[in-house]
């Protein structure tokens, strides 16, 4: 069975900086991959390249066996990829509910010109997603009025609404209050396993990584330095030194 995501010698270099160094990478369906690494190691850049936001200088990207190297984010999303961002990307002048409504009608693809958005969107599904991430009470508040942690929740919820095959989350629990981190990840993982969604998330919190990941990839200076089961990677001396900051 071909990998869900595969990259071949994927590279991005600009102005002397090598953000991604000939990366050969494979992600199988059903995996829960945690990506760790220091800031600037290339974790987000790699996501940007794979999802089409940045064009690589060389190399190829395959999703479900299909060459998507030249595609833009819109088409890659349509292949079944959902993404949340390090800095939550929301529609700040819309309410929480409206953000999810836009995600849901986006999924369907046809935008009505006369029927109201709320009528066109599946409100039950939106209510369910909001319950899942704990945003039900703030449904009618403007996204701009949400504190950082809840913005993260909304960002993840929007990606979830797309019912993707692969959910990529960039630092989903950063900014979320520590008591809530586990609740969020647990809820998301529950939703994902219900629907057999593969997950790929960037995380700095080692507890979250150990608890929810089936595989860990550690990035150092544009390369994947270690890749394997969590206990193996987290025990690796280079990873401990360069990424976790432990002697």
């Amino acid at each position: 069975m071909s990998a869900l995501v595969r990259t071949e010698k994927l590279s991005l270099a600009f102005g002397g900086v090598v953000a991604a160094d000939a990366i050969d990478f494979e992600l199988q369906a059903g995996e829960r991959l945690a990506v760790i690494g220091a800031n600037g190691a290339g974790k987000t850049t790699f996501i940007n390249i794979v999802t089409g936001f940045l064009k690589p200088t060389s190399g190829r990207i395959f999703i479900d066996g299909k060459d998507v190297t030249a595609l833009d984010p819109r088409r890659i999303v349509r292949l079944g990829v959902g993404r949340s961002f390090q800095l939550p990307q929301l529609f700040l002048e819309h309410t929480v509910r409206q953000c999810l409504e836009l995600a849901i009608v986006g999924k369907a693809g046809r935008l009505g010109f006369f029927r109201s958005l709320s009528a066109q969107a599946d409100q039950k599904e939106i209510d369910h997603t909001m319950e899942l991430v704990g945003l039900r009470e703030r449904a009618d508040d403007l996204a701009s009025s949400l504190p950082e942690g809840q913005r993260k929740l909304l960002d993840v919820a929007m990606a979830l609404t797309l019912r993707p095959k692969l959910l990529i989350m960039d630092e989903p629990t950063s900014g979320v209050a520590s008591e809530d981190k586990h609740d969020l990840m647990a809820a998301v993982m529950r939703a994902l396993s219900e629907r057999e969604v593969t997950s790929w998330f960037v995380e700095h919190d080692v507890d979250i990584v150990t608890q929810y990941a089936t595989r860990v990839a550690a990035w150092i200076s544009g390369k994947i330095a270690a890749d394997g089961p969590p206990d193996q990677v987290l025990a690796d001396p280079t990873v401990k030194r360069e990424v976790l900051g432990v002697a």
């Binding site: 999802t51 529609f91 409504e101 836009l102 009608v105 986006g106 009618d140």
Partner: protein, 318 residues
């Protein structure tokens, strides 16, 4: 402010227009100009929703107006309604074609390209005397309206009623568009275009639809303008005219379709009032008004009256 209140305002406004317009003959043409400018500003408001400002939209009024003039020259027997629809259709088609190129641009570049295109049209019309009548323009004779031949006063009354109906209908349609999926997605372009793309939506396609709608509205305004003025000139497409449309849109506010018409009323009242009582300073008065609005009430008159506010417990007017 609730929908019912807006509806009441529209009814009162329409009655006022009709009442004043039909009883005071000298108010008829100004009233029609208000509605024409309001429709054009409404077109600009649609673009504002997507966070883009065009400094060239007057070209669509110009295209529609000259279409009316050329058509009438070729077929003098054509009814006014046919002329208006034809003008609007041609302007919309132009918008569709130009839109394909223009929606790749954002912010000041969007504004500049539209400006450049409108100035190309203006310059061509101004110089090609044989075809366009040059800066003198082309005259338009009073056609029949809905089959009826009117005298001057009746013609103006009929146009007033027609414009009013068109304005209300368009305003209503645009409001529905704003609340529709396509319209809310358009508003999403303004706040986070990358997010739209990551939801699988094409920002370009959404903006293009909005652009075509705005071209149609400005085209309609141009056709009405041509019929009431009885003359089309290249000035209809000059950058100052586009600027006036933007002015009115900001003055009235882009939070609700009715804002465009509120802005048009204030604009025309100041312009006429200044011309009547303080000759030669209407631009100054308008300029001061715009500055005051931008400093004190950037969401315009409609925003000030909190029209179109969501029933959200937190957060302010949208």
């Amino acid at each position: 402010m609730s929908t019912n209140l807006v509806r009441t305002m529209v009814v009162i406004g329409a009655l006022a227009f009709l009442g004043l317009g039909l009883s005071l003959p000298w108010l008829k043409t100004p009233a029609i100009f208000v509605l024409s400018y309001g429709l054009a500003a409404l077109g600009v408001v649609v673009m504002l929703r997507g966070g883009q400002i065009s400094f060239g939209h007057a070209m669509y009024a110009c295209i529609a107006g000259y279409t009316v003039a050329f058509l009438q020259r070729a077929h003098p027997e054509l009814d006014g309604l046919v002329l208006i629809i034809a003008g609007m259709v041609v302007a919309t088609l132009a918008g569709g074609i130009i839109g394909v190129f223009v929606v790749r641009y954002r912010a000041i570049f969007f504004g500049m390209l539209n400006l450049a295109l409108s100035m190309v049209l203006f310059s061509l019309l101004a110089k090609m005397y044989e075809i366009s009548g040059g800066t003198d323009g082309l005259r338009i004779d009073r056609p029949t309206l809905a089959g009826i031949t009117f005298d001057r006063s009746g013609y103006e009354s009929a146009l007033l009623i027609g414009s009013l109906v068109a304005a209300i209908f368009c305003g209503w349609l645009v409001q529905r568009y704003f609340r529709s999926a396509a319209g809310e997605a358009l508003a999403g372009i303004k706040t986070n275009e990358a997010r739209l793309e990551y939801l699988g939506l094409s920002a370009r396609r959404i903006l293009w639809s909005g652009y075509v709608i705005s071209a149609a509205l400005v085209g309609l305004s141009g056709a009405l303008f041509a019929l009431v003025q009885g003359l089309v000139t290249p000035e209809m497409g000059y950058w100052l005219r586009s600027g006036e449309f933007v002015f009115i849109a900001i003055l009235g506010g882009s939070v609700h379709a009715i804002g465009a018409f509120m802005g048009a009323i204030v604009f025309t009242v100041i312009k006429l009032g200044a011309a009547a009582f303080l000759t030669g300073v209407w631009q100054m008065l308008l300029g001061i008004t715009l500055i005051v609005v931008i400093l004190a009430a950037p969401t315009g008159i409609a925003g000030l009256l909190r029209i179109g506010t969501r029933r959200a417990p937190e957060g302010g007017a949208r």
